[in-house]
């Protein structure tokens, strides 16, 4: 029997999940789902932004090279005796992977058979680091090529430039993979230092989704995990004086692209400390985006018909406790003109006010896309953990969406959309190809 097992249900979604704190210190979520594939993600609250930190018992902060969280993710797959964790998963047939973001590192697998064996492997390899100077050196070559691959991708370069234009201090500016120069400074000692700090089970969460039994998951945790000493990690994000305004108004970059690609970013520094309030604002911003910029909007249709934006025109917001911004992007023959039209359109809409009909339709869209996101174990697992790390429960999303009013969305438009919060990054075609 599991002590203090919490069950949460959503009648509308016809879904529920279990949550418990394993005695090792690990927080565990089990989301039952009657599908063939089961999914597990074991994640730590540790990403590229965490480059200055200490334990509450330490005197001094430790500062580490950029890209180390991602480097560590690669290195954890190497187990003692030169075996690769992928080889272990190969024996069970599970499909394994991992990813690093600004604020988290997750190790995952999906499996149609042998789920519990794979879960043992997952918990085991992530809790048993094994680094040598030789293997660290070798990894630099592989990650160097990974960085090179992203360097050749216009979308990824555009996104990096946009973040640097939006923020002056916020550590979201740091490239997740770091640079070839920064990763060259990584060695075994620094890797262990980071590992021992952030891979403490009290700083981690396991989320599993599928045809999975909560007691069995608990048993496997019992078998593999050792009790971790509770610790308090103090992170210095050095962003106390991040201005409300954008860092710079424009960022340009030249690459071998057929047409300019732009992203307009809208910075938001007004981030609530209350997780539900953040979720509400995030869904409300999605509703606002749907009203202002979707294919049903006058903005999209006018610009599309004038061949100023392309069919890939999109908008999306990212709101976590660490950063918040909204982005609209597309290909365009004239990004400056799009920017001007964007500014005018927002001002005009503010004056006229948002209309009830398009609000109702947009809300329906967000309501529907939330329900649709509960059809895949992988999507549920990823979404669950992302929200848990932002202290929000995905089963509350429908209620939060329902609570959003036209007035609430109108306030976001009035307060959050001002020129000093806007910036634009552009990838232009190479000069000799223009």
């Amino acid at each position: 029997m599991i002590k203090d097992l919490v069950v949460t249900e959503s009648q509308l979604l016809e879904e529920k999940h279990y949550r418990f704190k394993h005695k090792s210190g690990l927080e565990v979520y089990v989301f039952p789902k009657d599908l063939t594939t089961s999914y597990a993600i074991f994640a730590t609250r540790y990403g590229s932004m965490d480059n200055k930190f200490k334990l509450s018992t330490d005197k001094e902060f430790t500062i580490v090279p950029d890209g180390i969280a991602h480097f560590l993710e690669h290195k954890l797959f190497e187990c003692e005796g030169g075996i690769d964790a992928f080889e272990l998963f190969a024996k069970t047939g599970a499909s394994a992977n991992a990813y690093t973001s600004n604020t988290m590192t997750g190790y995952l697998f999906s499996a149609t058979d042998n789920f519990y064996e794979s879960l043992e492997i997952l918990l085991d390899f992530v809790t048993h680091p094994y680094f040598t100077e030789e293997t660290v050196q070798k990894e630099m070559g592989i990650i160097g090529q990974e960085i090179g691959m992203y360097e050749d991708r216009p979308g990824s370069r555009l996104n990096k430039e946009l973040l640097k234009a939006l923020y002056k201090k916020n550590k979201i500016r740091i490239d997740i993979a770091g640079t070839c120069e920064s990763i060259a400074k990584i060695n075994v000692d620094i890797l262990y230092k980071c590992y021992n700090t952030f891979y403490n089970l009290n700083n981690m969460t396991l989320a599993v989704c599928g045809d999975v039994d909560v007691d069995k998951v608990n048993e496997i945790c019992d078998k593999i995990l050792k009790v971790a000493k509770p610790i308090e990690i103090i992170r210095d994000y050095e962003d106390d004086d991040e201005p409300k305004e954008v860092n710079k108004k424009r960022a340009y970059l030249q690459m071998d692209v057929s047409k300019p690609i732009f992203s307009i970013g809208i910075k938001d520094t007004n981030i609530s400390k209350c997780p539900k309030e953040r979720a509400k604002k995030s869904y409300a911003t999605e509703i606002l985006n749907e009203m202002l910029f979707s294919q049903s909007s006058s903005f999209y249709n006018e610009l599309y018909d004038a061949n100023l934006i392309s069919i890939d025109f999109s908008s999306g917001c990212e709101l976590t406790k660490y950063y918040s911004f909204n982005v609209i992007s597309s290909e365009s023959s004239n990004p400056e003109l799009v920017y001007k039209k964007f500014v005018d359109y927002v001002e005009e809409t503010k004056k006229k006010g948002l209309d009830k009909e398009s609000f109702d339709l947009a809300k329906k869209t967000i309501y529907s896309s939330n329900i649709k996101s509960f059809d895949s174990t992988e999507e549920i697992g990823d979404k669950l953990i992302f929200n848990v790390f932002d202290d929000f429960d995905i089963l509350d999303a429908s209620d939060v969406i329902n609570s959003i009013t036209l007035e609430y969305v109108s306030d976001i438009l009035k307060e959050g959309y001002k020129e000093e919060y806007y910036t634009m990054a552009v990838v232009e075609p190479l000069a000799d190809k223009k």
Partner: protein, 424 residues
Amino acid sequence: MVDCIYEIANGVHLNYIETKKFKTNYVSFNFIAPLSEKTVHYNALLPLVLTRGTSKYPTQMELSKRLQYLYSADVGVSNNKYGSCQVFGLKANMLNNRFANDIDINQETIKLICDMIFDPYLENGVFSKAYVKGEKQTLIDGIEAQINNKGSYAFDRMISEMCKGEAFSIPRLGRLENVKRITSKSLYGAYKRAIEQYPIEIYVVGDCDIETFANELKSRFVDIKRKPIDISFEPIKENVESVKQIVDYEKVKQGKLVLGFRTGYNYTENKYHLIQLFNEIYGGSPTSKLFMNVREKMSLCYTCRSTVSQVTGMMGVNSGIEFDKKEIAEKAIIDQLEDIKKGNITKEEFESAKKSIINGYKSIYDSQSAMANWVFYRSLCGISTTPLEECEKIEKTTIAQIQEIANRIKLDTVYFLRGEDSND
């Protein structure tokens, strides 16, 4: 897998896969055409224009609002090459009726999609000039933007060099100069041809009133004179006279090396599981020979993987490397193949690859579009096995069979996309 098939009209079928596992219903309309320089650009453009407006909802704004009203059915266009065929059309994913109490989402959405296909917005009996002009530009932008993704660009370049003279070398979006010449009238002619002559396979995966949908569809074909053409694949080329070496120079930071092989596999053999299992061992997974050796042991690249095509029997190997590592990477990639040809496959490698393929096959049952695509594309090759039946075939495969498959594989083309200067 398919629970029932309705013959809607001559050469038109509605295939229903019933499942209650999902919160949505999936529909796809697939037109099947021969891949030809004369028609490829028309077929690429058609779905884009059809989703611009119907006679009842003539503008994109009205159409989008109607879709939002129907709980935002995601309607998308499709256009794929499959061997010497082109498959294009529309697909949609809609919320199941049980999540709405005000409207019948499924029937209304299906009606709307039928309207897009059978009752598009017309001006003077042909497509709107403005819509055709706008969507031509979208298609042109798409063709021009292929250079933006250097990895897929390099792969397409390899295909165009390797398959010169074969239908498969024809680009999926058509050629710029041909797109530019399309008019509202000529596109309407292509539309008529599609509706009257191309085989049409419609798939529904989910839980809905399929009878009503079948009747709705039948009513749409009443006034259409169907004269469906026969679709057949070009014979597959197996021989390689000499290996082609192609180098292109572009402004890239990383070199993209793509190797194209002819596997000698022919879909009529109905032994695709063998080639898939071979691929898994060679370069299809993170425990494959390419990944473990070229990436992990030699530290040459981040990406190094192989893919095979069921219908063309071609295999491609992709990798991203430093410019001066081309020869060593090329040799390493070929060495791994030679290794399999000699039968150097460990029991562990073999069992792992089997499990991995089986895992992939079984997970098809968790995605509505994957289920529909599994049945549809295999049916074009005359194959009707389910993923679970394929799993059984995989279980029974031997290492000797994989070695035999490997020995049929021939390198055809080595393509390298690189920058002018050294990249360190």
